[in-house]
């Protein structure tokens, strides 16, 4: 019960401090002021931001500890797929070792002065970089299969989605210009006129897309604000692993 109360009080202080600092930056932070003359909401909020940077750094450490614990346990018990855990921990420790080696003043984690790579940079450039880029590149294939499956003329909305997708995809490439008629300045409003598909693409992105995105942004922002208010006031406690109020 006490643990919960302390967590809620800390949440309230941390959440409301940022808010008050935004609207009332110069108000003295009572009761720290007048012992610290410059203590106000702004300085307290800035201090809290600095602490957040430190906490975020420690969160990474927590992540590493968790990974080592979870996968170490898997290896010790030789659970299903334990060999992958060996590979994971091997990668973790070798990259960490390269980083720690780079702490030496003559080493570093970038390139040496002659342009050759430090161990950290070599692992990053030759292993990590290609692996990351490959995983992201897979998206192109999944995009194609998703488009083939999802963009069907099933309903009016689906047809609209299909039409917009085809127009934008063609409009963004020179082929779209090649197959489009040239529209005059009086129609497009752009000096010298424009080709139909690229102009239509810009219009779709600038008007309906932007309007739809704005609507979702506003709605999501209000939703986030309401949830934040509930969290700050301690009305939403699901993140503490506790039941909800009300």
């Amino acid at each position: 019960m006490m643990k919960r109360r302390i967590a809620l009080i800390l949440t309230f202080i941390a959440g409301s401090l940022g808010l008050f600092a935004f609207f009332f930056p110069g108000v003295p932070l009572f009761p720290v002021w007048p012992f610290v003359a410059t203590a106000n909401f702004k300085s307290a909020s800035d201090r809290l931001d600095t602490w957040m940077v430190i906490v975020a750094g420690f969160a990474l450490t927590l992540g590493v500890v968790n990974v080592v614990q979870t996968h170490g346990r898997k290896i010790m018990r030789q659970e299903k797929g334990w060999m992958y855990s060996v590979a994971l921990l091997g990668g973790l420790f070798s990259m960490s070792a390269a980083g720690i080696y780079g702490l030496q003043p003559t080493e570093g984690i970038g390139k040496y002065t002659d342009g050759t790579s430090t161990p950290f940079d070599w692992i990053f450039g030759n292993i990590f970089f290609p692996l990351q880029a490959t995983m992201f590149a897979l998206l192109a294939f999944f995009m194609a299969s998703a488009a083939y499956r999802a963009f069907r003329i099933r309903s009016f909305q689906a047809t609209l989605l299909l039409a917009a997708a085809v127009i934008v995809m063609l409009g963004r490439i020179p082929f779209g210009e090649m197959i489009s008629p040239h529209l005059s300045e009086s129609i497009t409003g752009t000096p010298g006129g424009a080709y139909l598909l690229p102009w239509l693409t810009n219009w779709i992105m600038d008007k309906p897309n932007s309007a739809g995105q704005s609507g979702i942004i506003i709605g999501a922002a209000l939703g986030a604000a309401a949830l934040s208010l509930r969290v700050i006031l301690g009305l939403e406690t699901s993140y503490l692993g506790q039941g909800k109020e009300g």
Partner: protein
């Protein structure tokens, strides 16, 4: 016939992957050199840098990692070239945790090699990576030194001539974020909306549509969307500064413009699949209706 149509309407995804792979590979092996047309968001991004007075400070934030390097690296290279060509002072930071620091180092190193007259810590500096997401971004508005007490090479903030008198965002003319994910939104919502620093967003193609809303509301003064946006920026750069033409035509160097060939063919392949998918879908529906009627 109905069976054939049904099979084609539900084509094995591996065939789609194979065709996509060939569509992307072919233009890389045999460059086509298709034309690039400039769109208003990229033009705005270019003009935003052109308007800045020489000698001003520009904040470039590397908020991406290796996964989106294919899209963001060409933008980074183009922007750095643009800034150095205009004799702007570049301060680079990184806010993306996985690889952000390394891509910042690599890009700044490449730029420095191309501009040997520019001096490290005088004309440019890499301040390195800072964890914490929006917290350091908020703190930079009041105390830059507190966020980056040293640069990426470990040199103290006060020893960097370029950072003399730099206290906050007010000492920068513009911020350029090369972003993946949500970080570009943080720059627009936090840095521009609250601290009124002009922001240009270099986003991946996946994220670019959402930034149109920020562009229209004035929270971003320019948007470079994906590889297409990067190729447009390269074209604008070469048109204004012809000395860079050689760098972009160099053999063995993949630029956004060269990469657009692959994107063009890939787009055509996807459109082709969408269209034939719908043709087979309609044929299948008709044959089903005919079967039901019979």
């Amino acid at each position: 016939m109905a069976d054939i149509v049904r099979k084609l309407a539900a084509i094995d995804p591996r065939i789609i992957y194979l065709v996509m792979g060939l569509a992307v590979l072919f233009p890389i092996l045999v460059p086509i050199g298709l034309r690039v047309t400039i769109t208003p968001p990229t033009q705005s991004a270019f003009d935003a840098i052109e308007k800045i007075a020489e000698g001003s400070r520009v904040l470039v934030s590397f908020d991406y990692g290796p996964s989106t390097s294919a899209e963001n690296d060409p933008m980074a290279a183009a922007i750095l070239r643009h800034c150095f060509a205009r004799n702007l002072k570049v301060v680079s930071i990184a806010l993306f945790p996985v690889g952000g620091d390394s891509v910042a180092r690599d890009q700044m190193l490449l730029a420095a090699k191309e501009f040997p007259d520019k001096k490290d810590t005088v004309d440019y500096v890499n301040l390195g990576y800072k964890d914490g997401g929006q917290a350091p971004m908020k703190l930079m508005a009041t105390d830059f030194k507190a966020v980056f007490p040293t640069d990426a090479a470990g040199r103290p903030y006060d020893s960097l001539p370029i950072m003399q008198d730099v206290k906050s965002y007010k000492d920068f003319a513009i911020a350029e974020t090369l972003a993946t994910g949500i970080i570009g939104e943080w720059w627009a919502n936090l840095v521009n909306a609250q601290f009124h620093l002009d922001v240009v967003i270099g986003a991946t193609a996946v994220s670019a549509p959402k930034y149109y809303a920020y562009l229209n509301s004035g929270n971003a003064v320019g948007l470079i969307g994906g590889l297409k946006g990067a190729s447009e920026y390269e074209k604008l750069l070469v048109e204004k500064y012809p000395q860079f033409e050689g760098a972009y035509k160099q053999a063995g160097v993949l630029t956004a413009t060269k990469g657009m060939d692959a994107q063009n063919i890939a787009h055509l392949a996807i459109v082709f699949f969408i269209l034939i998918g719908n043709v087979f879908y309609v044929l299948m529906k008709r044959s089903r209706r005919a079967g039901d009627a019979a």
